[in-house]
Amino acid sequence: MTENTLKDKDGFETMYLNMGPQHPSTHGVLRLGLVLDGEVIIKAEPDIGYLHRGMEKLAESRTYQANIAMSDRFDYVTSMNNNFVTALAVEKLLGVEIPKRAQYLRILMAELNRVVNHILFFGFFAMDLGATTALIFGFREREEALELFESVCGARLTYNYFRVGGVSRDLPAGFIEKAGNFVKMMRSRLKDYDDLVTGNVIFQDRSVGIGRISKEDVLAYSLSGPVMRASGIKYDIRKDDTYSVYREFDFEVPVRENGDCFDRYMMRMLELREALKIIEQVLIKLEPGEILAKVPKIIKPPAGEAYVRTESPKGELALYLVSDGTANPYRLHLRAPSFINLQILQKILTGVKVADVIAILGSIDITLGEVDR
């Protein structure tokens, strides 16, 4: 983008503001090139790739199991969901049957991670709008969830919990009570969240009607997940293109109509409640049993391709996996929801204020690890 060719509507020179890669609220190392007329944006151009680690290339030199460990780092907020999609894709190629308990454990972890992601979204979104305390509240609850993860797999962030054919460890003693308590605590804290943020006049002023995405744009730009559902399209892969054993659980797919920042925020808050519901159901349904199917030590799926879609907290997380019969994948491509959702920025940032850029970016909920891979 050339700086001086763009003029504002009165023909005056515009200002080029380079936001990022180091900026307190670009959620990592995103760079936004903004052409400003005062505080109004004339043109916005996201520039990504500052965290491009070449993971798709690296995957080709790792075994399938190592790729599950690698997938933790795709979107480091929703590691369990990344594990999930990777394991599912390999299993699809292998054609193994997963034990019931492992299926439940997977869903338990994936939904817990959805809760963690949405708590973090709450915190960062409120932080982007200037409410610092909300972020710290969010992290406080996240720590409780991380304790659960830690007791299961020993890690706080990069879990590497899933195995091809199941999960790596069974639940430790007392986990079920702890998780039950967590759900109860989360329910009561959600009320605090609503008191502190959702009902706040300034917060609503900053988010209602801001960054509206129409239904048509959602489809044209292939947006997915909460961003899609906030614009009135009721489509959840867990329901509409179901995978694993999500069929057995009873949960709603919340949907909102306006497609503005506030609706995207509300979507997450509603989904968080649904995720808690699923967790509760899993905890009841869990029965003792195998947690790992019989799979060979060295996994060599037959040559073929698999495309697996899952509903990650950020949107449609899909994996395209090509095997050539060796121990390493021939090609691994991640359909990263953040990456594709981020494209809409170019369209909807035009004409908004600098402050709204942050709100809109926050409401889309991206992780740069996944955008750049």
Partner: protein, 151 residues
Amino acid sequence: MDAQKYLNEIKGRFPGTADAAPERIKDGVPALLCPAPFLFEIVKYLKAEGFNYLMDLCATDYRDSLEVIYHFCALETNVKLTVKVRLDREKPELASITPLYPGADWQEREAFDLLGINFPGHPDLKNLLLPCGWEGHPLRKDYSRKPDQYD
């Protein structure tokens, strides 16, 4: 499978596509091996037929050729369809579908960046992930990295 109907329809309309690809993706999602010149027209047809959601666009290097894979989905009916295009490895060129699906923008740029596929018709085809002036296309199988100042 519903999508098979569309495949047959396409084969009838576009004679060059008669040799559909074998069904390699499991779950019975049919794949259409489409000759490169027809791609834009076929995708246009698919969009008109209700495949309103482009799930994914990616490319693979099969050593002898490059393959671009489009995953479409019709959200209302939940019918999925895969379109594959084989490209010449030396001079890969394929019409951009960004005018039809703006969401393909960055995915095509990514393929351009990492695999060197040219998409005529793309509004702003340039580096996406790699730094400006990067040489080579890392996702190609024969890519070898030259040592730089950070090694």
